[in-house]
Amino acid sequence: MKKIIVNFYSLAGCEGCAVQLLNLITKRLDLLQYIEFNQFRLIGFNKEVNECDVAIIDGSIVNRENEEKVISIRKNAKTLIAIGSCATLGGVQLATRFIDIRKAIEKVYGKNALSTIRFNRVKPINEVVNVDYEIPGCPVEIYELERLLIELISNAEFRILQKSVCFECKLRENACLLDKGILCLGPLTLGGCNAKCPSIGAACYGCRGTFEDHEINEFIKIAMNKGFSIDEILNKLKIFMEEVIKEIDNK
């Protein structure tokens, strides 16, 4: 069987998803019979060949350099996969869309730094090129990465079921955090993480983005009924869910 050639690239992010890929490989060493890495810098693969069967990207685009790199990755890869919240949604740094970046850099570094610190607008990969598969999550779940790689090896189709974190949370019979006065985005967020945050008493921040049938206006109504202010709600949406803010009715 011919091995699949994989190139792994990291853009602006914490490399936690790269660590998850390493975690997967060390757990499933047999995968290396089917996959060959040309590039995976963290663990020493550095072959100067850009053409590959599958390119995997973690991290988001923050400047033109990143953007050009992504375009070239796309050209050279038959299949392009974006993993983690940064690559699929923009990541926590998406919150910089709500601050004046020029001003922030200028204030901090002085005017000269505007040419050296290259930071424009945070973008997920799909804003610049066509992406074949996306697995959101901060960090990416090992089991989903595993399933995707196995399906690529066997030419099957990979899909994430469209259900919410809230649904998974109810299956685990957790008490609802919204009732406890904790602003949880579980009702909006795509499941697949087995509701790991609310299950441990912490709010869902929406790191996997929204699921298809989410109802933002309904959610806001319910949250406001439970005593949360619209500012609080918007503030939380600004971490991972900027996209959904546009869907809010201005009533």
Binding site: S10, L11, A12, G13, C14, E15, G16, A18, V19, Q20, L22, N23, I25, T26, K27, L29, L32, F37, F40, R41, L42, I43, G44, F45, N46, G59, V62, N66, G91, V92, Q93, A95, T96, F98, I99, I101, A104, I105, K107, V108, Y109, N112, A113, T116, I117, R118, F119, C138, P139, G181, I182, K196, C197, S199, I200, G201, A202, Y205, N235, I239
Partner: protein, 435 residues
């Protein structure tokens, strides 16, 4: 002549080494960080206090636990919250587990290839497969336990000011104890197999500064005092000792103590705390015949190996101390928020991240962040990396450039630099100075 490496492999993040050679001698060494910025400090301003541990852990995928723990420690000071001793002990345990996990990646996947002359993970598996499998099965176990206690092995979920957002049951602590106990013997025999591979024959003498958090124990979390060589200073005076400089050729700053470079991390900790090692770790140190204090960066992986053994033994000891506690109760943040919502305060904390001293400082008002300052281990280590590469290379005849490059890269990797961390906090302190 200038030799410049390509983007370095087997380090966390994007970085480059530039070596300037004049008349066959090394004139200057620069370590350039190329990691794209993410401006954490800018979007942390205005955030609610309880969101900070969650967000700050996203600075790093290797030491996310350290950022979260350091931020809760600092925020508790700003809020003037006292936490129960069992919470502190459990956080110490958690930090040690995350140190083990990070050290395993560094020793076995990033640094070991240099010592046994292979390039990548596949070659490593082909040459020393059994050792690698054993090491990563320990990592899997530690990651499993971190997930059990904190929800995720990369970014902890339930760490909040005051304690944990979920109840930590005796059942969980017992599972922890059972698994760690099983691993102590296995890890010691693994270490015995690894240390001959990491042994450093050449003598390398270098004097200079080194710093770590100190306490009654070989500490990673508990404590508010640091030691620089043997001079002790309070955490609150850390910034009066350490100053940072920014250079435009890099996306990271560099930290100095009175203008001098200094070392932080496993070897610095070992230099200052070796009398407090656990019994097996002490035994290992004796067998290795390391002359301490040392500033030879090539000994860092060995120091990390000793720390893994030490941490496993200490975790078990601390878990036994926790036996009298039935469970660790969850914190009701809404009540704390109700009492403290109008507070103003400044809090600063240091913990030992896998790569060394991590400093977080927050100024808060009305339950919101109004100023942050974060100084990461790698920002502190970069000048020391440059200095030791320069010193070591100056002992060699420069005739084979490839050999020079390989040697220099090995040293950089020994330090285990974490460039995601070093970059994302670049601006934080700058902002502070401007204000």
């Amino acid at each position: 002549m200038i030799i410049s490496s390509k983007e370095l492999v087997r380090i966390e993040g994007h970085g480059k080494l530039i070596i300037e050679i004049e008349n066959g001698k090394v004139k200057d060494v620069k370590f350039r960080v190329l990691e794209p910025p993410r401006l954490f400090e800018a979007f942390l301003i205005g955030r609610n206090i309880e969101e900070v541990p969650y967000i700050s852990s996203k600075i790093c995928g290797l030491c996310g636990y350290s950022h979260a723990l350091c931020s809760v420690k600092a925020l508790e000071k700003a809020l003037k919250i006292e936490v129960p001793i069992e919470v502190k002990v459990l956080r110490e345990i958690i930090e040690m587990m995350s140190v083990i996990s990070s050290h395993i990646i560094h020793i076995f996947a990033l640094s070991l290839p240099d010592f046994i002359n292979v390039n990548n993970f596949s070659e490593l598996l082909a040459k020393n497969g059994e050792i690698i499998k054993e090491a990563f099965s320990l990592k899997q176990e530690i990651d499993y336990l971190l997930r059990k206690v904190c929800g995720d092995s990369i970014h902890p979920i339930n760490l909040i000011p005051g304690g944990f957002s979920s109840k930590i049951t005796m059942e969980k602590l017992n599972e922890l104890r059972g698994k760690i106990e099983k691993w102590i013997f296995k890890a010691s025999s693994l270490a015995n197999k690894v240390y001959p591979l990491l042994k450093v024959d050449e003598e390398f003498r270098r004097s200079g500064l080194y710093a770590s958090l100190i306490s009654k124990e070989y500490t990673f979390y508990i404590g508010d005092m640091i030691s620089i060589n043997n001079e002790k200073i309070e955490v609150s005076n850390f910034k009066s000792k350490v100053n940072e400089k920014f250079s435009s050729d890099s996306t990271s700053k560099k930290a100095f103590i009175h203008g001098k470079n200094f070392m932080v991390g496993a070897l610095a900790r070992l230099n200052l705390n070796n009398d407090k090692l656990s019994s097996r770790a002490k035994e290992m140190l004796r067998e290795l015949k390391l002359k301490l204090p040392s500033l030879n960066p090539k000994l860092i992986p060995l120091a990390q190996l000793i720390e893994i053994i030490h941490c496993l033994e200490k975790i078990l000891e601390y878990l036994n101390e926790l036996k009298s506690v039935k469970y660790i109760r969850e914190v009701d943040l809404t009540t704390i928020k109700e009492v403290k919502k109008k507070n103003y305060g400044v809090g600063m904390a240091i913990i030992e991240a896998p790569r060394g001293i991590l400093y977080h400082e927050y100024e808060i008002r009305d339950w919101k962040i109004i100023r942050t300052d974060i100084i990461t281990p790698t920002v502190q280590n970069i000048p020391d990396i440059e200095s030791s590469v320069k010193t070591i290379l100056s002992q060699y005849e420069i005739n084979d450039l490839n050999k020079v490059k390989k040697h220099a890269e090995t040293i950089v990797r020994c330090y285990d630099p974490c460039l995601s961390c070093s970059t994302h906090v670049v601006i934080v302190s700058q902002r502070h100075k401007v204000n």
